[in-house]
Structure formats: C-alpha cells, structure tokens
C-alpha cells in the first residue's frame, strides 16, 4: 500500500519538476529577488558625516564655548571617526558649503560673553544635525555651568575662583563620569548577546516564505485540474483508496515546499553570506512553515470550484499574508494594530523563529514560533482536509 502511495508521489513530482513554472516560482524568482535585495540593501558607500565649523573670535582668544566645542567635542568625534570637521572662515562660507552639498551641517560660534552658538543643517542631514545639536547643547551647558560655579563661589566667599582652574576640575569630573547619569555598554556575556537577525537573512527569509505559498500549489492544486480533466474519476475507479490520492498530492506539495526552502536557504547562506542560525532550529522552522503553507493550499482547494478560482484565491492569500507577515517590508517598526495583525501569518512566525535563533541561540529557541505555525497548520488544515476530501470523493 505504501508502495502505491510513493509511486503516485514520485510520478507527480517528476511531472511537476518538468513543468518549469515550478522551478521559476520555487527557485528562480525568489533567488533572483534575494540576490537583488542583497545588492540593493548594501546601500551607498557610507561616507563619514561631513560637518563644518566657524568661530568669529571677537577678542584674540576664542570664547570658552568655542574651545569646548571645537577642541573638546568635535575633536574627539573626529578622532573616533564619527565626523570629519572642516574649518571655514565665516558663516557665509559655511552656508555655501552646506548648499553645495560639501557638508551636511555646521556650527557657528559668535560673540564672547555670552557667546552665541548656531547649528545650521541641511534639511536632509538629520544625523549630523542631531549630533551637532547635542554637542552644542552639552558644550553650552558646560560653559554656563562653569559660569554659575564661579558666581556661586564668589557669593560663598571663595577666594578669586579662576574659571580656568574650575574648567579643568570640571573636565576631570566629566571624564570620571561623575554625575547623575552614566551610559554603559551591556556586558554581552552577562546579559546574553543582543543577537539580531542580519538584514540579508531577513530578506532571504521573506522571499522564501512569500514564494513558498505559491510553490506548494504545485501538488494539491493538481486535484482540481485532474477533476476537470476526468483523470480523477479514473483514479478513484482504481483500487487506490481516495485518501491515498489526497495524501499523495499533499506529500508532493510538502516535498516541493521543503526542497524550495532548503535550496533558497543554501543559496543565500553560501552565495550571499546570510546567517540563518542553528541548522536543527532552522529545519524545525522549515518543516512547520511548509506544513502551514500546505494547510493553506488544502483549504483553498477545498473551497474552490475550478482550478482558475483556486489559483486566484491562492495568489490573493499569498500576497496578503506576504505583505502582512513582513516578506517585503517589516511592519514591526510601526507598532500598534499593524504589527499585531502580522502575527496571524505564518510568515511572521518564521521570521520570529529566526530572530529567536539569532546570536547563536540553541535550536530550542525556535520551538515557540514553530509551535505557532503548527497551530496555524492545524486550524487551517483540518477544515481544509475535510473539504478537500469531499473534492476527491464527493
């Protein structure tokens, strides 16, 4: 009996593989898109943020805040490579440089006591503008703070407090991190690494799951074709039990689905360097994901009356799930209803499984999301099986 079943499965599989559409949707299209996305996602060559600086010194010396900004904050940002700073002669030169696109933003310091700091940015230079703004604010706050300290010490009767000395002590305190707030890196080993799914894997997973829902059609949808052509009736007349006919089609869909996913995972890992995580975990996700896809197509076949109708419904579901589930773009960042809706789709849970596996987590991390996909497969697949069963044996 099992031999009969496998004979049907093999025969169908070969027929599907010879039909190049299966290869296009199962391999070529997703692989091409993964490749294109990997290339486009690399983005333009990241140039250092280019900024400018001007100080109109009124006296011979630069105002304290000018020094604090130029020699303090900007210097250190230059040293660690975050920014490239160009000095300009005056404000007009700086503005011209921004408008020409040579720099994104700049700081202009005028006056002496008090000094005036102006942060000028191009409307597009959001990051450099924000960094310079924060630098300007912290430098101004520091200088004003010293001013207040000098004033307070005079009030309290301290002998001629020297701003320079205070400044030095203030720097020392700042360097020690004295103050109410300190920023500290997370100790990876203690708290566990912030894994993080890398962009390439996210893209590859999105495309693979999107096309999966088309690919699995190549087995089960055949039922409706055969029903129309009359071959189904002949099959039923043979000693092959009806449930085996259905099961054979389901197995064909399952095998094609797994083969497609496996090939795409291998392709993206080997050729594009995508990191998928623990292989056993990924295997668990693939199997439950394909089951979810097959269950969907089974329901579609159960509901549809003609192959064309089934094809249309299948496409609609594949598209809606793909979009909601984040195959093309993630709804996770938008929060709220959208990201909640995306949780109905198996696509979301497949991606979630990969997130849980990222950062070197063991395969068991995938169990939760795999479970979600399994639940989906059962909830959708049981009615699907019943309805599809009636298509086979009306």
């Amino acid at each position: 009996m099992a031999a009969q079943l496998w004979a049907m499965v093999w025969r169908d599989l070969w027929a599907r593989l010879r039909d190049r559409s299966a290869l296009v949707l199962g391999l070529l299209a997703p692989a091409a898109l993964i490749a294109v996305f990997s290339l486009t996602a690399e983005g333009p060559t990241q140039s250092d943020l280019e900024v400018g600086y001007v100080s109109s010194a009124v006296a011979d010396e630069d105002a304290p805040v000018a020094l604090a900004i130029r020699e303090g904050a900007l210097s250190s940002l230059e040293t660690d490579g975050t920014l490239t700073v160009t000095d300009y002669r005056d404000r007009d030169d700086l503005v011209a440089a921004i408008e020409d696109g040579d720099i994104g933003a700049g700081i202009v310091v005028t006056g002496d006591d008090p000094a005036a700091v102006e942060v000028i940015q191009d409307s597009d230079a959001v990051v450099s503008g924000a960094i310079l703004g924060a630098v300007a604010d912290s430098s101004a706050a520091a200088v004003d703070g010293i001013g207040r300290a000098v004033g307070a010490e005079m009030i309290l009767g301290v002998e001629s407090p020297s701003p320079a000395a205070l400044q030095q002590r203030f720097q020392a305190l700042a360097a020690e991190g004295e103050g109410a707030v300190t920023v500290v890196d997370v100790d990876d080993t203690a708290d566990g690494a912030v894994g993080g799914i890398d962009l390439k894997t996210q893209l590859a997973a999105g495309m693979a799951t999107f096309f999966l829902f088309f690919t699995v059609g190549f087995g089960v949808l055949g039922l409706l074709e055969e029903q129309r052509q009359g071959t189904l009736t002949r099959l039923l007349a043979s000693p092959v039990p009806a449930w085996q006919i259905l099961l054979a089609k389901l197995l064909v869909s399952f095998i094609i689905g797994v083969a497609s996913m496996a090939s795409l995972i291998a392709f993206s890992a080997i050729l594009l360097g995508a990191q998928w995580g623990n292989p056993v975990g990924v295997a668990v996700l693939v199997v439950t994901g394909v089951l979810a896809a097959v269950s969907t197509i089974t329901l579609v076949v159960g509901l549809a009356e003609t192959p064309e109708q089934a094809g249309a419904i299948q496409s609609m579901l594949a598209l809606v799930f793909g979009i909601l589930g984040g195959s093309f773009f993630s709804l996770a960042r938008s929060g709220g209803l959208a990201s909640t809706l995306s949780m109905i789709t198996p696509h979301f849970w497949f991606g979630e499984g990969l997130v849980q596996l990222s950062g070197g987590q063991p395969w068991t991390a995938a169990l939760g999301p795999a479970g979600a996909m399994l639940v989906f497969a059962v909830v959708v697949g049981l009615p699907g099986l019943l309805l599809a069963g009636r298509t086979v044996r009306p």
Binding site: V36, L156, T182, V183
Partner: protein, 385 residues
Amino acid sequence: MTSSSFDAIVAIVKANMIRLLNERSNLFFLVILPLMIVFALGLAIGGEASGNLVGVVDSTPTEASQTVLDAVQDIDNVTMRRYDSAQELRDEIARRAVDVGWVAEPGRGGAVTLRWYATAGEGFRLREIVENTVRSVNVDRQVLRLVTEDAGVDEATAEMALAEAEAFVEPTTVDRTTTGGDPENNPANIRAVLAAGELTLFIFLTSLVGASYLLSTRLLGVTRRTRAGPVPVSAIIAGEGLSRFLVALLQAGIVFFGSWLLFGVDWKAPWAVLALSVGMALVGSGGAMLLGTLARTDQQVSAIGLLLGLVLAALGGSMQPLQFFPDTLRRVAFATPHAWMNDALWRILVDGEGFAQIWPSLAVLTAAGIVLLAIASMALARSLR
C-alpha cells in the same frame, strides 16, 4: 483603415474589457492589492518608522533618567518606545523593530546607569547623540559638586548660591537653522516616493499577468476564427495591443488616483506623472503581448509574469529607491524601464522638477514601449499565420 477593421478592433477591445471586469478576483488584484500595499508601506516605512527608534526600559524613573528621556525625545527624527523588561527590549532590537535602546538602573543618591543595547557594530551615531545629551544633564551635578568642594559647604547651601548666581550669568544661546528645500525624508515625500514605486511596479506587473487573457484567446482558437473572417491580422494585433494598453492605463489610474484620494499622496506634477505612466503602459503592453504570444500555459504566464514583474521592479528601484543603491548597481538598474520611470518620479516628487527636466526619461520609456510593441506584434502576426 476599413470600417470592418475598426469594428473588429472595437469588438476585440470590448470583449477583453468585459472579461476583465467580469472576473471578480480582478477587483482584488487591480484595486485592493496595490492600494493595500501603498497603505501598508506608509505604515511600515513612512512616518515614525523611518526615523530613529529608541527603546527605553525605565521601571523606576528618577529625575535624572526622566530628564534624559525628555531631552532625547525632543530630538528631531527620534521616537521613543517604552518596554517593560530588558528581554523585551533585546527582542525588539533583534527583530529590528527599534534601532537601539537603554535600560535605566537607578543607583545611589539619585544616580542612574543607562545600560546601552544595540546590535553589534551598529548604533554608534545614536549613542553619540545620547551621550552628549547625558553630558548636558550631568552638568548640574558636576557643578554642584565643584562648588560644595571648593566652598566647603553642604549641598543645599551650594545649590542656593548657584541659583543666585544664575541671575548674573547670561546663558550661551544655542540656535538651530535649517537650509535647503524639501527634505527627502519629509514624511509626505517618503509616502509619495513609496506610492511612485508601486505605480511603476503595478503597471508592469498587472500588464504581464494580464497576458493570460491573450493566451487563452489564442488557445481557445478565438483568434484563429477571427482571422478566418474578413478581419486583417493587423486589426487583431491592434485590438489585442490596445486591450493590453487600456488595462495598463486602468491600473495606473487606480494607483495614481487611489494614492492621491485615499492617502493624500501629493504627486506634485500630475501631468508629468501621468505622461510617464503612459510611457510605462506602452512598455507593459508590449511585454504582455509578447508574453501572451510566446507562453503556452496559464501557469507559465503567472510564473514568468511574477518573476519579471517583481525582479525588474526591485532592480529598477520600485522597492528601494535608486538614491540608496550602491553606485555600480545604480548604473545597471537603468537597463530596466522601471529605473527610468522611478528616477524621473523621484526628481518630480523630491527635487521638484517638471516636464522640462524629465522629458528624456519619458522619451526613453516611450521608445522602449514602441519597440517592444513592434516586436510583440511581429511575434503575434507570425503565430497567426
């Protein structure tokens, strides 16, 4: 053109349109799907999601941690999300739902440690911004300590003195000025660019997938029977070509007007955009006619339609704008019609250009469309003989 030719063309177009409008699933593919994507994209990429998202866990807020929070929240282009646990924050960063974040741990005497979370190798710039903000917040404490030590008084006295001194110190002013025109990450511009990408994508994709109508017309033998009547081959070709063109225009119209009316997308130079759509529709019709002539099964049409429709769109900047492509890939992209249209649309929507500047792209698209239609017509003619 003889009147029977003209009648034949009208009849063929009418038949195609009736078939199109009768299939209810087309309501989904032509209307609901593209508009749903434009809407979802606006949610996913437009607005907050396109800026910097910072996650914060602060279960026992102190004055200091709240001050930092308020200061960072005030920064342009930064949105905060609150979470209840470090694990939640880590997960959100891992799935890229937020970019970076911190967990506030209160210490002794009002001090706070911010544990900084970010994916390895990322988030340096945001960290600089937050560190500088923290520096500003810390100034008051540092100054207080300075004065208490130097004057040998307790904190309360020092604070009073500092408050008095404040009246005499003229603060350094910090002003912000922005130059330049409409920023490319202005939310309205982002939404428009996303809609533009979908416009290009769908005109071409819908055309290609719609080639199945031509296919089934041929397979059912309708074209051969039409040919048997007093209808010249040229009329059949014109009829089929026109049908494909009208479908493409219909799709363009739906995306154009739908984005505008439902989502407030500002097309800035609508006539230029429509002209580009016509050019793209020509390309789409040529492609559809060729596909409908050469393909042998419906499944082939869907598979190849989906393949070419999506891959060319991705390569041509419909999904990620060409501006953000690496330089070499950007040059390759212009082998696709999509790149010409997307580039022109970007220049209209973000740079504010119009007909006068984008006409070369329009010319290229129209020429490509005409060439494709010519090739497709020859192929169809050959198949009818």
